[in-house]
Amino acid sequence: MNPETFTVDTVIDAVSAVFLVVGSLMSLAAAVGLLRFPDLMTRMHAATKPQVLGLFLLLAALGLQMRTWWVWPVLVVAWIFQLLTVPVSAHMVGRAGYRTKHLHPELLSTDELEAVVQQAAGTRGFTDDDGDQPAGRR
């Protein structure tokens, strides 16, 4: 082995090591966010989103370690699957959380959806009576 390939190998190893550590730190960020944030919506920010970057870094490290070209499309497909699914599940959970009043109103600076919901509830009556709940609870 000549010295040049050796250094390239070391650089790739170092980069992927950094990627692995930072990627796992993103999981820790999710856990810290889960424990520290006050309500469901803010927890969701911490829970699902850093994982996008985390998985990206981990897959990149995996691709660098394997050193064959054909793993890259596989890894990209795995990552794109995550990109497609994460917003959908986050939106579903977030919508369910908003509709069942999982957030603390005192931690919101503005809520521009509430007026719309109340107006809609007043004109045609929501199926699950969302509109009357906040007035009764405060």
């Binding site: 190893d13 170092a14 992927s16 090591a17 692995l20 550590v21 990627g23 796992s24 730190l25 999981s27 820790l28 999710a30 856990a31 810290v32 889960l34 424990l35 469901l40 927890r43 969701m44 829970a47 699902t48 994982q51 985390g54 998985l55 981990l58 897959l59 490290a61 995996l62 370690q65 394997m66 793993v71 596989v74 890894l75 497909v77 795995a78 699957f81 995550q82 699914t85 994460v86 959908v88 599940s89 579903m92 959970v93 919508r95 369910a96 959380g97 509709r99 069942t100 999982h102 699950d128 009576d129 709940q133």
Partner: protein, 92 residues
């Protein structure tokens, strides 16, 4: 160097998994628990990924995709249920 990386990531992921499990146990509502379970699943995925990178194999790749899809289907299903369920006890 890879041994060191493996140790660090193992500690970090264990802490993260511990945090997620605490939230599953404590979580005031069902949605919080679903969210925390989703995070736990993502941590399992991260662990699979790190194992593959350190040991240089690709055996778990499809398992990784399957795990993330299960997390997706699970949280969407529960989210749909909750939207219907949680109104009732407060109204009665």
């Amino acid at each position: 160097m890879m041994d060191l990386v493996l140790t660090i990531t193992a500690v970090v992921l264990s802490l993260a998994a511990g945090g997620a499990i605490i939230r599953i146990a404590r979580g005031p509502s069902l949605l919080d628990r679903v969210l925390a379970a989703d995070v736990l699943l993502a941590i399992v995925g991260a662990a699979l990924c790190i194992d593959m990178a350190v040991n240089r194999h690709l055996n778990n790749l499809m398992l990784l995709v399957a795990v993330s899809l299960i997390g997706f289907v699970g949280s969407v299903t529960v989210a749909r249920f909750v939207a219907d369920r949680r109104e009732q006890p407060r109204e009665s």
